[in-house]
């Protein structure tokens, strides 16, 4: 190819399609709702299938049984996980913990990565600025940051105070623990660099997940607006509904390439030379999280508005996606926080 090329490879698209098919089959809304009610059998089955497909270990090197693929290879899969509102913290696991363990290496990686990637055990991540750890009650190993060190803490060495999120599938916990030399697995500049990288991966992965949530909200709202009649016509024939949904389509459509570019930057460094301002990977990731958060929030707001009263009911599935958007738009840096990163780089 003699041209610059902003397009996923056929392999990447094929992998995405396979993940989409698997998730559509294994993770219907009933599985998400079951997790709300404390029943994780469905969730465990989806997770096992994703592990088997290689999604969870995708970022691990081959010596740890992974696929040795990049953030760019993962980004479309996380978007697919968002479409079905996968209740498991896939971003923290596959996009953050696995590559972090791999980069720390040694016996820690050798011992844990294969077990995590196979679904045999679970890992949780606590980054600076994130007060609560998702699915904390599920994890056997906690990767936690204290000062300029990273610690790997087994479940037995800490206590968890559970929190109730508006999205019950989040299963948040406040982790109480004491850093010690025994748990320290990286320190100094290495740890600081890995922590920063983990933050970028968490923000980017969450942005991709939000794109999927937003796209699904748009899809089901379009479906509802075509079927639901009021005043004798489908509500989707009203201009107010059309324009709300067109605005969502615009927001998602233009956020998508920004997220994919950020994934490229993480994987291969900033491309598209001759940009006016020499931004780095952090700026690209911040743009991605800011735009994806805003687009998904708009999708949620307009979805509820177009659904009317039924969207407001607990029994209707809309809320499963909407509440996840509320939580993830704030997680790993909200839109304002990320815009301020871009602002400092661009406006001085």
């Amino acid at each position: 190819m003699s041209e610059m090329r902003f397009r996923f490879s056929d392999e990447q698209l094929t992998f995405r399609d396979a993940a989409r098919d698997l998730l559509a089959k294994e993770c219907p809304p009933s599985v998400v709702r079951a997790v709300w009610d404390g029943d994780t059998a469905g969730e465990d089955a989806v997770w096992a299938a994703l592990c088997e497909m290689g999604v969870v270990g995708l970022r691990a090197s081959e010596k740890h049984g992974g696929l040795a693929l990049s953030d760019l290879d993962l980004v479309l899969l996380l978007r697919e996980a968002g479409r079905v509102a996968l209740p498991y913290p896939v971003v923290e696991t596959a996009a953050v913990a696995v590559p972090l363990l791999d980069e720390i290496g040694g016996s820690l990686a050798a011992e844990w990565i294969p077990r995590i990637a196979s679904g045999e055990t679970h890992v949780a991540v606590g980054l600076p600025g994130e007060r609560f750890v998702p699915a904390a009650t599920k994890a056997d190993l906690f990767l936690l940051v204290a000062g300029d060190a990273i610690h790997a803490v087994p479940r037995g060495d800490l206590t968890i105070r559970p929190q109730v999120s508006v999205d019950r599938s989040r299963r948040l916990g406040l982790v109480d623990w004491a850093p010690s030399p025994a748990t320290r697995v990286a320190e100094g500049a290495t740890a600081t660099g890995l922590t920063e990288l983990s933050r970028l991966r968490a923000a980017l992965g969450t942005a991709a997940f939000l794109l999927g949530l937003g796209r699904h909200l748009l899809d089901i709202t379009v479906g509802y607006a075509c079927e639901r009649h009021q005043f004798g016509v489908p509500i989707g024939s009203q201009q107010a509904v059309k324009h709300k949904l067109a605005d969502v389509a615009v927001a998602l459509t233009f956020a998508e390439p920004v997220v994919y570019r950020a994934a490229y930057s993480l994987a291969h460094g900033p491309g598209l030379a001759d940009e006016v301002v020499g931004e780095g990977v952090d700026v690209h990731v911040s743009m991605a999280k800011a735009m994806a958060s805003d687009a998904a929030m708009l999708a949620a707001e307009h979805a509820l508005q177009c659904h009317g009263a039924i969207g407001y009911s607990y029994e209707y599935d809309l809320q499963l996606w909407m509440k996840r958007v509320w939580c993830l738009a704030a997680a790993h840096g909200d839109a304002r926080t990320h815009r301020s990163v871009v602002e400092r780089a661009v406006l001085g």
Binding site: P162, Q163, V164, S165, L172, Q230, A330, D334
Partner: protein, 387 residues
């Protein structure tokens, strides 16, 4: 123009404030939209009634104080400032009662209003039906004339607190031949009547706040008709006017929310950047504007005697969207703490902002979606063509 309250108004405010300070429960009641919470709220309602604060603007003989509209606004400001519980009787007191005052017989007034004020009868509204929504003229539930009364059939849905109420008011089609808004009659229905079944439905925030009500040849007497057979549309429009207008959403409520938001900003000064502060101050200004608009409107009503008209649609759009933005700003300020719900160990203000946000989200939807309200403003206030 005289924007200073009179001595009488200030005295009224002082009396209300002092009673509320002494009587409002120290810890917030559980949600009135759950079964346990509702019982706690009933106790509060009866305490209010006994002290004659339940229906301040009503005649003394029905339990009120014959307060002026201005005094009512003052009372509401004090009520919400004190952090007093939401009124679980509001559907009756604020929506149905004005209609009974306007269309009810003397017998209906004497029989129904005192029990409503005392929270002995608990009213829910039956407007929406499956596949009808905001389009009231499409109502399908039927009323069939029989000897001495009517048989009701059909289904009402999205009935707020229906599962905890004793009575329902709503429209039924009494003339099967008539179309759209003709041939409807306004009925007052005891929910313990034979043939009535009430099923609770969960709401966004998890509370059992909605109900579906099924009617299967449920018999009601002729005295259950409010405002004349076939007059239901006209009568109902007066009630929905109240819902969308002044009475349900007094500025005191939003002033209180805006004030709590300002306090939240002050208590978390470190986490508020200037962008968020500007959003916060916009919300606070809007709450002020809503208060000023209301006082202006009420002054006009008092002086000219004209009732609140179609401009209540402007009102509904403004307060409902302001309420969403106020809560949204609070949640943004809370950051990663924002998603914590009621009952979470580390939730700020017991998760009240997340709860309030979900409640606020219903605002642009209920009582005629804001899309419909914008059509009403365009067509009836501005005079744009219907189609």
């Amino acid at each position: 123009m005289d924007l200073d309250f009179t001595t009488q108004e200030n005295d009224f405010r002082a009396e209300a404030r002092s009673w509320l300070e002494a009587n409002v429960p120290r810890t917030p009641l559980p949600s009135g939209d759950t079964r346990e919470g509702f019982a706690a709220h009933l106790e509060w309602e009866r305490l209010l009634f006994d002290a004659r604060w339940a229906v301040v603007s009503w005649p003394v003989e029905y339990g009120g104080r014959e307060a002026t509209l201005m005094e009512w606004l003052v009372f509401e400001e004090e009520y919400y400032r004190a952090g007093a519980p939401n009124r679980v009787t509001q559907n009756g007191i604020f929506l149905l009662a004005p209609t009974i005052f306007e269309y009810g017989t003397q017998d209906q007034r004497d029989r129904l209003l005192p029990r409503m004020a005392a929270a002995e009868d608990l009213w829910c509204q039956g407007w929406s039906e499956p596949d009808v929504g905001s389009d009231l003229a499409g109502i399908k539930a039927r009323a069939t004339k029989v000897d001495g009364g009517w048989l009701l059939d059909g289904q009402k849905t999205w009935t707020t607190r229906g599962a905890f109420s004793t009575h329902l008011f709503g429209l039924f089609r009494s003339d099967p031949e008539a179309e759209r808004h003709r041939g409807l009659t306004y009925f007052l229905v005891p929910l313990d009547a034979e043939g009535v079944t009430v099923t609770g439905v969960g709401r966004l925030d998890g509370d059992e706040g909605f109900a579906e009500v099924f009617f299967d040849s449920a018999f009601v007497s002729d005295e259950s008709v409010l405002g004349g057979v076939g007059e239901g549309w006209k009568v109902a429009m007066s009630t929905t006017g109240s819902e969308r207008g002044l009475t349900l959403r007094s500025p005191g409520r939003f002033m209180a929310t805006a004030t709590r938001l300002a306090e939240l900003f002050r208590s978390r000064a470190g986490s508020a950047d200037d962008v968020l502060r500007e959003t916060g101050v916009k919300g606070w200004m809007d709450a002020q504007a809503y208060r000023l608009f209301t006082y202006q409107t009420v002054s006009d009503m008092v002086e000219t005697g004209r009732p609140m008209g179609v401009e209540s649609s402007l009102n509904k759009i403004f307060w409902s969207e302001m309420d969403v933005r106020l809560h949204e700003t609070a949640l943004a300020l809370l950051g990663v703490d924002g998603e914590l719900d009621e009952g979470s160990a580390d939730a700020v203000d017991s998760g009240a902002w997340m709860k309030g946000w979900q409640f606020a989200l219903a605002g642009p939807i209920y009582a005629g979606t804001n899309e419909i309200q914008r059509n009403v403003v365009a067509e009836r206030v501005l005079g744009l063509p219907r189609k």
